[in-house]
């Protein structure tokens, strides 16, 4: 118990003192996850909108596929990507394995199905009159799409926040395609795993606190946005 208290105290000291290693890991985590979300979101929203608003062959199969991919473990995505990016893999020549870019690609693959599924549910529940009204008032389809996105923004923000929550805390994929290299690809979850295995609990707890605070903030944020959305209806 004393060890745990001491380790927690050291963890706070590490965070407050601005320990370079710790803050470098935190900033890398955020930059990788933000990049992944930023790249994935526009495509996910367009696909989700098409799935919700247009009838086409294999539409239901696509929805089922995205729902299935949502629950694929991060480590499976990491393994698949590893095999693709490894030197003997089909994309080996790109030399992306154990780089930032590989981590971003892995996180895009992780959050994409979740973003599509949640955004699809939001668009599906959207008031179709919004789309029809925009079109009848002279908006081109692209403009009408942006109008609709604005109308259901709270649900979409909740989807994006949930997607961010999924990737910032994942370990399997980042470990496999990032390699947990210090000053290069070490992010919060991989650092926690490593430090804990070395018995360096203070650093692990410090990073754990960051994830915990982040998780609480994200959940609070989602609740606020969902609440605003409900109030609007």
């Amino acid at each position: 118990m004393n060890d745990l208290s001491q380790a927690s105290l050291n963890a706070f000291q590490l965070l407050i003192s601005g320990n370079t290693d710790i803050w470098e890991i935190i900033s890398l985590s955020f930059s990788v996850s933000f990049s992944a979300i930023l790249i994935a979101t526009p495509f996910a929203l367009i696909i989700a909108f098409c799935l919700a608003f247009f009838q086409f062959k294999l539409r239901r199969a696509c929805i089922a596929l995205f729902n299935t991919f949502m629950s694929v473990p991060a480590v499976i995505i990491g393994l698949t990507l590893y095999l693709l990016l490894s030197r003997s893999g089909p994309l080996g020549d790109l030399r992306l394995l154990f780089t930032h870019k590989a981590m971003i690609i892995g996180q895009i693959l992780l959050c994409f199905p979740l973003l599509v599924a949640m955004a699809h549910a939001t668009f599906q529940a959207a008031d179709r009159r919004a789309w029809e009204t925009a079109i009848t008032l002279g908006a081109k389809p692209w403009r009408a799409f942006f109008t609709l996105v604005y109308e259901v923004r709270f649900g979409l923000i909740a989807a994006i926040v949930a997607g961010f929550g999924r990737v910032i805390a994942e370990i399997g994929c980042s470990m496999m395609v990032g390699g947990n290299i210090l000053h290069s690809t070490r992010n919060i979850p991989t650092a926690i795993a490593l430090e804990t295995s070395k018995g360096e609990f203070a650093q692990g707890i410090a990073l754990g606190i960051v994830l915990l605070v982040l998780s609480l903030s994200l959940n609070a944020g989602v609740s606020v946005f969902q609440g605003k959305g409900e109030l609007q209806q």
């Binding site: 008031d127 009159r129 919004a130 029809e132 009204t133 925009a134 079109i135 009848t136 008032l137 002279g138 908006a139 081109k140 403009r143 109008t147 604005y150 109308e151 609007q232």
Partner: protein
């Protein structure tokens, strides 16, 4: 009397059920046509087809001297006609920005759009609502804001789906007056409504839609000084 648009052989099937099967419908220019019909008779569906929002299985459009299949006519219909839902949708913004929406899409500058919106609000006696959130308006106010938003774009045809449904007497009266003023400005109007007693003094022509097919309105559904359009031929 000249026709604004003629639609021929409108056929639409949804879930293996024939929703619309109309041989011909002519909509006269600068006049008001009222379509009556029970719930589920296809009134809203017909309005969405005419306004280019819903694709029929087949339909031919005669408009501005051109005879086009619906698919080719769709952009023209969407550009020239405005459809208002039974409960009009107002965007999550101020009344002013809602009315300016179509003007912005037409490329108007913010200053010009603002000026036109204020004039339009004044026309509709809604100036006091300009900066209110559109989502907080009552049903009647929403309907009048939506009518103003449509009028400002000078549509060639205004399609109104049950414009006075679920309104109290005052709101019905105000909406009815606004429709009368729109008509007197020469806007072609197509209305579908259950409540013919509120609307029929505005209407010049009556049609009845039954199970997706148009028939002339029965005498109980119209007043004596109006014309019944023959749906199977060009307008009388």
């Amino acid at each position: 009397m000249t026709d604004l648009i003629d639609l021929n052989n409108i056929h639409l099937t949804l879930a293996d059920k024939a929703v619309l099967n109309i041989k011909s419908i002519s909509i006269p220019a600068h006049q008001c046509t009222l379509i009556t019909g029970r719930n589920g008779s296809g009134k809203t569906t017909l309005f969405k087809v005419i306004s280019g929002l819903l694709k029929p299985n087949r339909a031919t459009i005669e408009y501005q001297g051109l005879t086009l299949p619906w698919k080719k006519a769709k952009p023209i219909l969407q550009k020239d006609f405005i459809y208002l839902h039974q409960n009009p949708y107002l965007f999550d913004d101020t009344v002013l920005n809602n009315i300016a929406y179509g003007l912005y899409r037409a490329g108007e500058s913010k200053a010009v759009a603002h000026q036109k919106v204020m004039q339009a609000l004044d026309w509709a006696n809604l100036s006091h609502l300009a900066h209110r959130s559109a989502k907080q308006l009552s049903g009647g106010e929403k309907q009048r804001v939506a009518l103003t938003r449509a009028r400002i774009l000078s549509p060639r045809l205004l399609l109104l789906d049950e414009p006075t449904a679920s309104m109290d007497t005052d709101a019905k009266q105000q909406t009815s007056e606004l429709l009368q003023r729109l008509k007197s400005e020469g806007v072609s109007i197509l209305i579908c409504s259950h409540e013919t007693h509120t609307i029929d003094h505005i209407a010049d022509h009556f049609l009845h839609l039954e199970n997706g097919e148009l028939t002339p309105a029965s005498s109980s559904k119209r007043t004596s000084n109006v014309t019944v359009l023959n749906p199977s031929k060009k307008s009388i």
